[in-house]
Symmetry: C3
Subunit: 252 residues, 3 copies
């Protein structure tokens, strides 16, 4: 089996753009399985794409090529990147979407040339899909372009230690279920202050009654605020950027 | 070719959870084609998932593994199942989503152990995807866990025979086109009473004029109410649970 | 690797219909990769499907089979087609969705027989999926049915030359980003009149400020109206059918 190529875009599927990209890949890397991650990133939402990439890119076997194209600056001066990190490859615009892989020690990036015939509005088809196919079929990273020393790297905001032992964080994403994912790692026992409420940490949703709020450690190791069988975002009026505070259990 | 693995979830795709599950499968069963059925089941809609599974699970070749994860009880006491039925395998929570396969004579179910490191909120990634990969790569059902004798089974409500020869049923699903799928098998000639109207049975939509209602036998053998080039749900104010009556043609 | 089969429908995925079709293909053509183009064509939007097919069908390698099912006339008298054009195959209803391939010189079409057991409401599963699998596994077009001499062909409206040297065209599609794709080929320098504004042609979005309108040659070679980091459809109140005029740069 050849290396799979995964796809993440904000293109939706109905217009046929994704169909075009897949055709380029099917032509240039016919043995590579094409795996859709998503085409439903909100239009131009670089940060949503970055957080999704962070979740999945290292779950795939070595050699996998991840294409991630959310690209409001297409056709302008931003570079087009190919990245090798921890044995996987990634291609996408130099706007931060590939940050999770670039932050790993040993990550390397190269700048993809834009061929003369490339559509200035669709590098996904004319630059990134061919680069993904080249990497999946055995091209070395350095064959694709010159090194880039300072790619754009976006980081999730860090939590802030408060004087009283607490830690202030924020909501960094709302998922489809209305769960609010925060930037607080869920390492110690304690409770969460959010919107004037104090929520004990639980192991899973079912420790509270239906429609009650709960804080727990989510599947990526970060604290999440949820409402059982409901939407925390709606019920607690949480959005990306909402502040929360973690207070560790006091050792009496 | 190795056995394919199909995926049905209520996760949407934008958050990257499906991308994580596919990464686990691509790592553990790299030769298995991954086939998306849907990730658009409404959040926590077990019954919608069950009805979709009923449609497709036996259309695939023997050996296929169907992963179906709509799992409001994740992390609580509900069991995690793997099922073998009619030569196919299914994995998912013990909440009724796998009922269509469990109802077949000879179906067998086992309980999947939850590994210590599994995220309590994401068994799709940490329990069901590994089990699907194991089955697709040749593990026997009984190697995965101990037998389950009484899995949760949900059934579509049965129609009720009326004294006058008619049969009362109900709408069990509304599809994307607004067609109302009922629980009435479409075996005999007759007509449908719905919302005070009497609709003759037709063979296909085009037997009526545009925007006119029609009753016909749908692609799963059940009676459907449709509006040609329109939405029966909207035009006739039908929803899941709406009552309908089938009256057979009288033999004069 | 066997020929891939691509899928375009207006079925959505949640109801399980697409899952059924894929099961038929996985059974009859188990070695063919199944590639989703889209299932999000608006219900019964033949023209949206036709424009998407036009984008992608020739991007795939020879031998690829494209299934395109947007089929308001299913079960009525419209024919079911299989088409061979430029080395690719297409299957779908005879209602215009396959026009982009039928317009190519040398294209041939045959009429697929409807088997007695086919559901009158679901030829995607019972007619088109089996035909796609047959073509992907080596059947010749002529083995599938008798020739069709006059398949339905829909065309994008042609631009109209104005007396003053300008060309009047119209918006033929709005994409997910709100870009308005027109029927005007983008061959010469000039400017675009739309809604009382005169937009110079640009090479890419970034030549204008944020939220400013811009006209450029899109990725399929046609003029598009966009708003940088915004929606041209919303900001300029453009819809399919909106009139625009291209005026070439005068050679002074």
């Amino acid at each position: 089996v050849t290396a799979p190529i995964t796809l993440l875009t904000d293109f939706g599927t109905a217009d046929g753009y994704v169909g075009e990209m897949k055709g380029v890949i099917a032509t240039l890397a016919p043995s590579s399985p094409i795996i859709d991650v998503t085409h439903d990133i909100p239009p131009q939402a670089i940060d949503s794409a970055r957080l999704a990439v962070a979740r999945y890119w290292r779950r795939y076997p070595e050699g996998t090529v991840h294409l991630a194209v959310v690209d409001p600056g297409v056709g302008a001066s931003r570079q087009a990147l190919a990245v090798e990190s921890d044995g996987r490859f990634l291609v996408g615009p130099d706007n931060g979407v590939l940050s999770p892989a670039l932050l790993i020690p040993g990550a390397r990036a190269v700048s993809l040339p834009i061929p003369p015939g490339a559509a200035p509005t669709f590098h996904g088809r004319d630059v990134f899909a061919p680069a993904a196919a080249a990497l999946a079929t055995g091209s070395a990273l350095d064959d694709l372009g010159p090194p880039v020393e300072d790619p754009v790297i976006l980081r999730t905001p860090r939590p802030r230690h408060l004087g009283d032992g607490g830690t202030e964080g924020e909501v960094v994403a709302i998922d489809r279920f209305g769960n609010a994912i925060t930037n607080l790692p869920g390492l110690t026992d304690g409770s969460i202050m959010v919107g004037g409420m104090n929520l004990p940490m639980a192991a899973t949703y079912s420790e509270v009654e239906r429609l009650q709020p709960v804080a727990l450690v989510g599947s990526s190791g970060l604290i999440e605020i949820a409402v059982r069988d409901g939407s925390a975002a709606d019920e607690l009026k949480l959005a990306v950027g909402s502040r929360i505070v973690f207070n560790p259990t006091r050792q009496e």
